[in-house]
C-alpha cells in the first residue's frame, strides 16, 4: 500500500469550531488531493496541490482551506465547521497528476454536531 496516513481517523466537532485534517505521505509524490465522499455524490474534489505551497480549488472548496508547507504534508482546514461538512474525507496522492493512478488514504470520518 502507498504510504499515506490520514489523521485523525474519526472526529466529532461542534458547529462553528475550526477543524484541521492532516494527510501525510512517504512516497514523495508531487500531487496531493482532498476529496469528500457523500452518498449519491461519489468523490468530490475540495482542493489539490501540485507542489509545495502550490494549491488550487476543486469543485466544492467553499468553507475549506489548505496548506502544503512541505512535500509530505497536506492540511485541510474547516475554518468554522457546519453540519453540511459532515462527511468522509479522503486524501489522495499521485506521482504525475492525471497521467497516473491516484492512491488514497483510509479516510477521516468527520461529524459536525
Amino acid at each position: 500500500d502507498a504510504g499515506i496516513t490520514q489523521s485523525p481517523r474519526h472526529k466529532v466537532t461542534e458547529t462553528g469550531t475550526p477543524v484541521t485534517l492532516r494527510c501525510h505521505q512517504t512516497e514523495n509524490h508531487r500531487y496531493m488531493y482532498w476529496y469528500r465522499q457523500d452518498p449519491g455524490h461519489g468523490l468530490r474534489l475540495i482542493h489539490y496541490s501540485y507542489g509545495v505551497k502550490d494549491t488550487d480549488k476543486g469543485e466544492v472548496s467553499d468553507g475549506y482551506s489548505v496548506s502544503r508547507s512541505k512535500t509530505e504534508d497536506f492540511l485541510l482546514t474547516l475554518e468554522s465547521a457546519t453540519s453540511s461538512q459532515t462527511s468522509v474525507y479522503f486524501c489522495a496522492i499521485s506521482d504525475q497528476g492525471g497521467g497516473t493512478e491516484a492512491f488514497f488514504g483510509q479516510g477521516t470520518r468527520l461529524t459536525v454536531v
Binding site: 452518498p39 492525471g98 488514497f104 470520518r109
Partner: protein, 111 residues
C-alpha cells in the same frame, strides 16, 4: 466508507460467476481511466488502469474494456469471490491534474 453504498446501483453475482461492472464517462477528451475498489470503511484501492490508445487490458482476474466511440468503460471480474464484494467506481482524466470519479456500483457476491 460505510455510507458510500446507500444510494448506489447494486450488482448481485453468484460466487464463481463472472461480474461485469459498467461505467459511462463524460469527457471525450479523457485519455486515462482507472478502476477502483472500495470496501466498507476503507479508502479506494487501485485495481487496474487503461489508456485511451488501448481497447482492453488484463490483470489478475480482472479485465478492463474501453469503448471510446460510446464513452464506455467496463470492468470484468472472473470467478467472483466473496472478497470481491465492495463498491467499484471508475475515474477518468484528460491530461490535467484532476480526476473525475463516477458514483460507483455495489457488487454483492452471493454464496
Amino acid at each position: 466508507g460505510e455510507n458510500v453504498g446507500l444510494h448506489l446501483p447494486t450488482l448481485s453475482v453468484q460466487e464463481g460467476d463472472n461480474s461485469i461492472i459498467n461505467c459511462a464517462y463524460s469527457n471525450s477528451a479523457s485519455d486515462y481511466f482507472i478502476w477502483y475498489k472500495q470496501e466498507s470503511g476503507k479508502g479506494p484501492q487501485f485495481i487496474i488502469d487503461i489508456r485511451s490508445n488501448m481497447d482492453k487490458r488484463q490483470g489478475q482476474r480482472v479485465t478492463v474494456l474501453l469503448n471510446k466511440t460510446v464513452k464506455h468503460l467496463s470492468l470484468q471480474i472472473a470467478a467472483t469471490q466473496p472478497g470481491d464484494s465492495a463498491v467499484y467506481f471508475c475515474a477518468e482524466t484528460n491530461g490535467t491534474y484532476k480526476y473525475i470519479f463516477g458514483t460507483g456500483t455495489r457488487l454483492k457476491v452471493l454464496a
